[in-house]
C-alpha cells in the first residue's frame, strides 16, 4: 500500500496566494522529502526534513513535519505561475531501508495568472 498520500489531489489558486499541500504516511520514517514534477518531466528534489526536525525553510518553501500524526505539509508562499506542477512527498522505504523512496500520488497545483 502507498506510504505517502498527498492532499488535496488538485489545487488551483491565484498567483500571489499561498499554496498548502499535505502528506500523510503510515510507518516510521528517517526523513521525508518533497519533490516537484513539471508536466512530462522528471522529478526535482525540493527539500528534505529529518524525523527529528519540525520545520524547515528553503526560499519560498516551508515544510513542517509532525511525526506523532505521521503527516507533513508543504507551503509555497507568494505563488507564481512557474510553480504550476505536481508535488510529491516521499518517504524512506521500510522506515530507513536503502531501497529507495516511496512516493505518494501527488498534488497537482495550478497557479492562475
Amino acid at each position: 500500500s502507498q506510504q505517502g498520500e498527498e492532499d488535496p489531489q488538485a489545487l488551483s489558486i491565484q498567483e500571489g496566494e499561498n499554496a498548502t499541500m499535505n502528506c500523510s504516511y503510515k510507518t516510521s520514517i528517517n526523513n521525508l522529502q518533497w519533490y516537484r514534477q513539471n508536466s512530462g518531466r522528471g522529478l526535482v528534489h525540493l527539500i528534505l526534513i529529518r524525523s527529528n526536525e519540525r520545520e524547515k525553510h528553503s526560499g519560498r518553501l516551508r515544510v513542517t513535519l509532525d511525526t506523532s500524526k505521521k503527516s507533513s505539509s508543504l507551503l509555497i508562499t507568494a505563488s507564481r505561475a512557474a510553480d504550476t506542477a505536481s508535488y510529491f512527498c516521499a518517504t524512506d522505504r521500510r522506515g530507513g531501508g536503502a531501497d529507495g523512496l516511496t512516493f505518494g500520488k501527488g498534488t497537482h497545483l495550478i497557479i492562475q495568472p
Binding site: N30, Q33, Y35, G40, D92, A98, G100, F103, K105, G106
Partner: protein, 113 residues
Amino acid sequence: EADIYQTPRYLVIGTGKKITLECSQTMGHDKMYWYQQDPGMELHLIHYSYGVNSTEKGDLSSESTVSRIRTEHFPLTLESARPSHTSQYLCASSDLGAGNTIYFGEGSWLTVV
C-alpha cells in the same frame, strides 16, 4: 541540475518489439533506480541496483529486465513490448545510505501500439 540522462525521451513502437531504455549518470552514484509512472499517477519502483552487478526487483512487478555492468549505466529492456507497457519510465540515482536525495532523469515516454 542533475547529471542523469535518459534516451530516448519518446518512443512509439509496435507490439512484440524489443526495446532498451538507456540511462546514464555522471555523479558517481552507486544506487540507481527505475520508476514507472502513468500520467497523473504515482511513481512505482520497478527495479533498483546497489552497484555494479547488483539488480533487485522493486514493489511493482514488471516484465522488464535491467543490468548494471558499469556504475554509470543502468539500461532497462523489454524483450517483447505490449500495449500494457505504455507508460513513462523514470531513471534515478542516489548515493548509498538511507534517505538520500534521489536525482531523476527527464523520463522516457514509451507508447506501444
